[in-house]
């Protein structure tokens, strides 16, 4: 059964299309990672799900309720931690939690919740004096009020230190074990990878890929094969380049590095190296990380298809005015440039896929 059902959802802000015919589902009990660069449309999707804004076209249902006409019923069963929230400076942490309980019509032990999120000593302090991390912990506590059937978490690790992030992951796992469905929106891949059963990757308001992390890895399976040998003759490199499925071949003093798509290609490359009699010593393979899947999906060709794999085109799309917040687009582009993703993308998206 699906907890969240989104069909052909489109949201336009003037001439800007933030969501473009978006469709996906989140199943009951799963931890769904909603990934995407800044400005991809993640928060817009959540804002529609919780009634902060209305879709231009398409439909969205949560627990079978229409998000526009039955929003209150949805929020009774949902705990949310939304990006861009602010606390009430003049209310204490306990009053914040109690406020959430009152709104949901449930009785809670506010102190126990504050203890669970790691700020038991702040119960009687006004939130205006809290650090960012304490505010985030309190907001997570508010989201947990009433044991919600759905947790919507938008960038929940913002402001948390490493311990807080670890505790957040543990809370998410506990909530998942309890039976809650978790919708985890983030641009931090390691956070998503650590807790999510399934991920959907959003780019320019479109779901470019969706599935189990392992399935996505399989779709991208251009893993790296590193073979340690005693000598590296040039003829071996040329021979390896002819193996079907091998994409790139390079070498250092005693190591051959092959990028190959599929297990058969890697096996054939290994056989060629062994037959070449170059003193085969050892080999390692590296599967693509979720980070690579993310980069491939948001900047590269995983989503673009065989005729749309040019890196510069992807970059143009990210920088272009056609979708989302222009500032966010620039940030995403800058971030891509900062962590060398553009170089990586350029190396792997040349040619058809």
């Amino acid at each position: 059964m699906s907890v969240i059902e989104i069909q052909n959802l489109t949201k336009r802000f003037g001439t800007v299309t933030a969501l473009d015919d978006l469709s996906f589902e989140v199943r009951e009990g799963e931890v769904f990672g909603f990934l995407g660069p800044n400005g991809a449309g993640k928060s817009t999707t959540i804002n529609i799900l919780l009634g902060f804004t209305r879709a231009s076209a398409g439909s969205a249902r949560v627990f079978g309720h229409d998000v526009e006409t039955e929003s209150k019923a949805i929020r009774y069963r949902t705990g949310s931690l939304l990006e861009g929230y602010s606390v009430y400076d003049r209310l204490t942490a306990r009053e914040h939690v109690q406020r959430a309980a009152n709104a949901k019509g449930v009785v809670v032990d506010a102190d126990a919740i504050l203890e669970r999120v790691g700020i038991p000593d702040a119960a009687d302090r006004r939130a205006g004096g809290f650090s960012k991390g304490m505010r985030q912990r309190m907001a997570i506590g508010m989201a947990l009020v009433g044991e919600p059937d759905l947790l919507v978490l938008d960038e929940p690790s913002t402001g948390l230190d490493p311990n807080g992030t670890r505790e957040l992951r543990e809370i998410i796992r506990e909530e998942s074990r309890r039976g809650a469905t978790v919708f985890f929106s983030s641009h931090l891949i390691d956070q998503v990878e650590a807790v999510c059963d399934r991920v959907g990757i959003l780019r320019d308001g479109e779901m470019v890929t969706e599935g189990d992390v392992d399935d996505l890895r399989a779709r991208l399976d251009a893993s790296v094969l590193s073979v340690t040998v005693e000598t590296v003759p040039e003829s071996l490199l040329g021979d390896l380049r002819t193996v079907e499925g091998v994409e790139t071949v390079s070498a250092t003093d005693r190591q051959v590095v092959v990028t190959a798509r599929g297990g058969v290609a890697k096996l054939r490359a290994l056989e060629r190296i062994e037959r070449a009699g170059v003193g085969f010593t050892d080999f390692t393979t590296t599967d693509p990380s979720l980070q690579e899947i993310f980069e491939e999906a948001t900047l590269g060709a995983l989503a673009a298809g065989p005729d749309d794999g040019d890196a510069s085109e992807s970059q143009d799309t990210l920088d272009g005015p056609g979708d989302g917040d222009a500032v966010d687009r620039e940030e995403a582009s800058d971030a891509a440039a900062d962590d060398d993703t553009s170089e990586w993308t350029g190396a792997t998206t040349e040619g058809d896929r």
Partner: protein, 289 residues
């Protein structure tokens, strides 16, 4: 349950904020403050004669309120929604199971409580002073004054919350309440004359008698409606200062419902209902990002 939660939370925050106390004191100053001044003058016996008539003091307070109350009431309500939106706390307010109606009505109710309690306290002091010191106090007049002042205040609470729900920023809301005040305080007269100018083709614009609709249009203004009620309750002289300064005098031959207290009360009631309703309808479908 949600509506009550919104009201209680907003009242709690108002109680802890300078805004709540500032608004209450701003209402108390021209009401209870005037009452206390009367007591002070009586104690030092400034005039050396009999104490002032109840009607005169109440009329003076009413005139003060006719200028101050619109702004005080809007000041106490203009940030109700837009501040939550600008700060981001609206993510909590509407992320919890509170409907837009809960949020809007709750904010309106809490700001109504703030202004009503302030007005009640101020009028209670005035009543005590009136019945203790002043000449010819009248309980019916006092109740009429209280009801009219409450209605007058709540009309502008309605404007403040409606502007708050429609504005995208606090600056925008501030401009909205200033604009609203200017329109009702001074701009309305220009509007009346503007329509009269057009209706009379630019000639003999101020020649009396003025048409009935001119008075209807004028007394629809909630400030004018409030003053109309004050004059009817407290000011019995035909050519008193309040009448001269605050309201256009109908010509003797003009006998229209527009200048009657009933129409003024009807006008205030209309604003009381229409403004919050229109404000909610505008807020209901807004994108709150």
């Amino acid at each position: 349950m949600s509506l009550r939660t919104v009201v209680e939370d907003d009242l709690l925050r108002l109680r802890r904020s300078p805004l709540g106390w500032g608004v209450a004191l701003s209402v108390l100053a021209p009401t209870a403050g005037v009452g206390l001044l009367v007591v002070l003058f009586e104690l030092v016996d400034v005039t050396g004669g009999p104490s002032a008539p109840f009607d005169n003091i109440m009329m003076a307070v009413g005139v003060l309120l006719s200028f101050a109350m619109p702004f005080i009431a809007m000041l106490g309500s203009y940030s109700a929604i837009v501040h939550e939106r600008e700060s981001g706390s609206i993510r909590f307010l509407l992320g919890l199971p509170n409907s837009r109606l809960d949020a809007y009505a709750g904010k309106y109710a809490s700001r109504t409580v703030l202004l009503s309690v302030s007005v009640l306290a101020g009028v209670a002091v005035l009543g005590a002073v009136g019945f203790g010191i002043l000449q010819e106090p009248d309980v019916v007049e006092l109740v009429a004054f209280l009801l009219a002042t409450l209605a007058f205040a709540l009309v502008f609470v309605g404007f403040g919350v409606a502007i708050s729900g429609s504005a995208n920023s606090l600056i925008g809301a501030t401009a909205g309440i200033i604009g609203t005040y200017v329109v009702f305080r001074g701009g309305w007269m220009i509007l009346q004359y503007g329509v009269l100018y057009v209706a009379r083709g630019g000639e003999n614009v101020t020649v009396r008698p003025l048409p009935d609709w001119y008075y209807f249009l004028g007394r629809v203004n909630p400030i004018n409606a409030y003053v109309t009620i004050l004059v009817d309750v407290f000011d019995r002289g035909p050519r008193t200062l309040a009448r001269q300064v605050l309201l256009t005098q109908p010509s003797p031959e003009v006998n229209t419902l527009a200048t009657d207290t009933v129409f003024a009360a009807f006008g205030l009631s209309g604003w009381l209902v229409v403004v919050p309703l229109v404000g909610y309808l505008a807020f209901r479908r807004r994108d709150l990002l």
